[in-house]
Symmetry: C2
């Protein structure tokens, strides 16, 4: 296989993937993926905080205790949540995937996405694992990316490369979208692989940091699914030196690469929302703490009033400041400044000269919109990403299940 | 004047109101209201927690320190927020209203609602106060109700009566709507009057309790305005015995009456949202604490996915349970039960028999929809009210300012 065909989760050395159709989706499209390492890897993950957790999340969290990991099995079309035998079926998926990869069941992770409350056709899934396992290959990343999609319009992959010592190290990732789409469950799944060598405790810290700077910075409709997960596997196949402490240059370089892959995937998730017509960056600067900056940015990004105004290409600065004001963060309204698409709108608590709207209006017609709010009271900042709230959001989510 | 004409805030004895057009609204409709007591009253209020507070909120909070209160002056069409001379203009409104009622400026409250960031045409407002003050009368409640409207479709008044000892006591109220409408500022204003006699510290507690059980139980789009306020005035004109402690039968009776007026107004605010096609009650039972019950109920009521499903008349129980799960409240999913419009959907963690949807579907076509979730783990409960999320919400909020 040529190296050119390696992409996403199979870009790093030693990772293989496969995707196919096992019959969970009635239209016969791809609905089953395997992502595997050819040698024992270390893994860590973060999962939905929803009290109502899918059985696959429960099984994957259990298997996080294993010191080594080898495979991720994913089906789309059925979330295996609040359904008959859900836990038993998730365990069976892990066991069967492990069997065909040649590892212990605890070395397997399970993820499912799709409708909830419906029994998973487990026989089809297990038979499907058996069928696609022989197709596990270094060029299989794209098939896996396709197989985990539900109503995503495009497959989502990302890669990054770095040097550790003299060794080339790769990071790859794949994701499926969330919210705003057909989000009966708004599920976001993301899997990231790397051929870096890293110890498990250090990977744990790295995953938390990368997630905080990426997937925790996006919001579509504020809903949190029962099945969300981010899993990161590192198999050391690059031959690079082991990263065994959560500091220093090697750690910083890998963290930066994993974060860039996660940010790329997170932004693709936001851009691919059905109904979304705008990609919106909200940046808050001069806050007292990063947490405060993020709270204010998220409050703006979540506001239905702000999001409908952006869909209408209306520079409604009042809604933006209002949403900033109810974020639970204290600031002095007389010191704030607001830029929309790079143009000053509000400065030191006052609207700028009367012609600001003429300057901003044409820029709001573009797909990418930037809101920058300076709180005038500190050195911390944060950026988050969201989309607008459109007629199609209502249409899609109203008609779902009909 | 006949007693029949008294309504809303002028139902209780000793209260007068007036409404008229002073020219803030360009179409010449009513935009100025006065509500006054013919004798010194005690007052308390609760205000928006938004960091970005309107100048009228700031002035009214200052005047809450006064031991007695006499008048509330309200304009609609301009929120006097983040606008030139906003604080000075709010002070001038209080001072002029006080002058024409014959009280100290600190005995006057000020409220404004409408567009923000535009200078208030203060000369028109002050002239308007002078013009309408002579029309202050016991039958003026309806004019005041009309004058505080922005894009509300209907004026909102409520009354309740009770006996304290041998005395008839009345409670009346007026409100204007919030969110989902043209909520550039989503402002909710509510004013409640009573001829009960109550001490100021006891009224303070009563207002907090009544607000918590009413206006704090509604959500339209989750946005919180810069100008929200609830003010309650009690003037003792009924001649009933003074309520001087926050316990006992007299306190309980007045609390019940004020709460019922506030609940009535709060429900009217939700029902009157432009774009709203459904009035939705969300009731959570068997929670460990009332706070937990309310958190779960609010999480469901705020979910865009739940609200679009209800607009589509779709019994999407998965979205309801998912929203319950991310409320930040711990519960056991295997013990929960869900009724929609009184019909069992989900019991003890499992979907009920296959024909539940046939039973629920016709009921979802009605305007009033009820969601009841039993958490199966305690004795506390809470009910909140919301509306659906419709195409018209997007249309109205997209086109605003265009």
């Amino acid at each position: 296989m040529s190296n050119a065909k390696r992409s996403g989760v199979t870009a790093p050395k030693g990772f293989m993937a496969a995707g196919g159709a096992c019959g969970v989706k009635p239209d016969g499209s791809f609905d089953l993926a395997l992502i595997a390492s050819d040698r024992p890897a270390v893994a860590w993950g973060v999962f939905t905080k929803n009290v109502v957790k899918g059985a696959p999340v429960i099984v994957s969290k259990e298997n996080l205790r294993s010191k080594t990991s080898r495979v991720i099995v994913v089906n789309s079309g059925n979330a295996n949540v609040l359904a008959e035998n859900d836990y038993k079926n998730a365990k069976a998926m892990a066991q069967t995937a492990a069997e065909f990869v040649g590892c212990a069941p605890r070395e397997a992770f399970v993820a499912s996405t799709g409708v909830i409350g419906q029994p998973l056709p487990i026989e089809k899934v297990l038979k499907g694992i058996e069928t696609i396992a022989p197709y596990l290959r270094p060029s299989g990343g794209k098939d896996a990316a396709k197989a985990i999609m539900t109503t995503d319009l495009a497959a989502k992959e990302a890669q990054a490369e770095l040097k550790i010592g003299s060794k080339d190290v790769l990071v790859g990732g794949v994701a499926k979208g969330s919210g705003m789409i057909h989000p009966s469950m708004a599920t976001m799944l993301a899997f990231v692989t790397t051929d870096a060598a890293i110890s498990r405790p250090v990977l744990k810290k790295l995953v938390k940091e990368a997630n905080e700077a990426s997937f925790n910075r996006i919001t579509v409709d504020g809903d949190t699914s029962t099945s969300d997960m981010l899993l990161v596997m590192a198999n050391g196949a690059s031959g690079a030196e082991l990263i065994d402490k959560p500091s220093g240059q090697r750690y910083a370089k890998l963290l930066s690469a994993v974060t860039s892959v996660c940010v790329d995937l997170a932004r693709k998730v936001v851009k691919d929302g059905e109904g979304a017509t705008k990609f919106v960056s909200v940046k808050v600067t001069s806050a007292k703490t990063e947490k405060a900056a993020k709270s204010v940015a998220m409050s703006i990004a979540r506001s239905s009033l702000v999001k409908t105004a952006l869909f209408g290409e209306d520079a409604n600065w009042g809604r933006i400041l209002c949403a900033a004001g109810y974020a639970g963060v204290n600031f002095d309204p007389s010191k704030i400044s607001l830029n929309i698409c790079g143009k000053p709108v509000f400065q030191n608590g006052k609207l700028v000269s009367a012609d600001w709207e003429k300057k901003v209006a044409p820029l709001l017609k573009k797909r990418d919109v930037e809101i920058s709010l300076d709180l005038g009271g500190g050195n911390a900042s944060a950026e988050v990403w969201t989309c607008d709230l459109s007629h199609d959001y209502i249409r899609i989510n109203t008609e779902y299940r009909n």
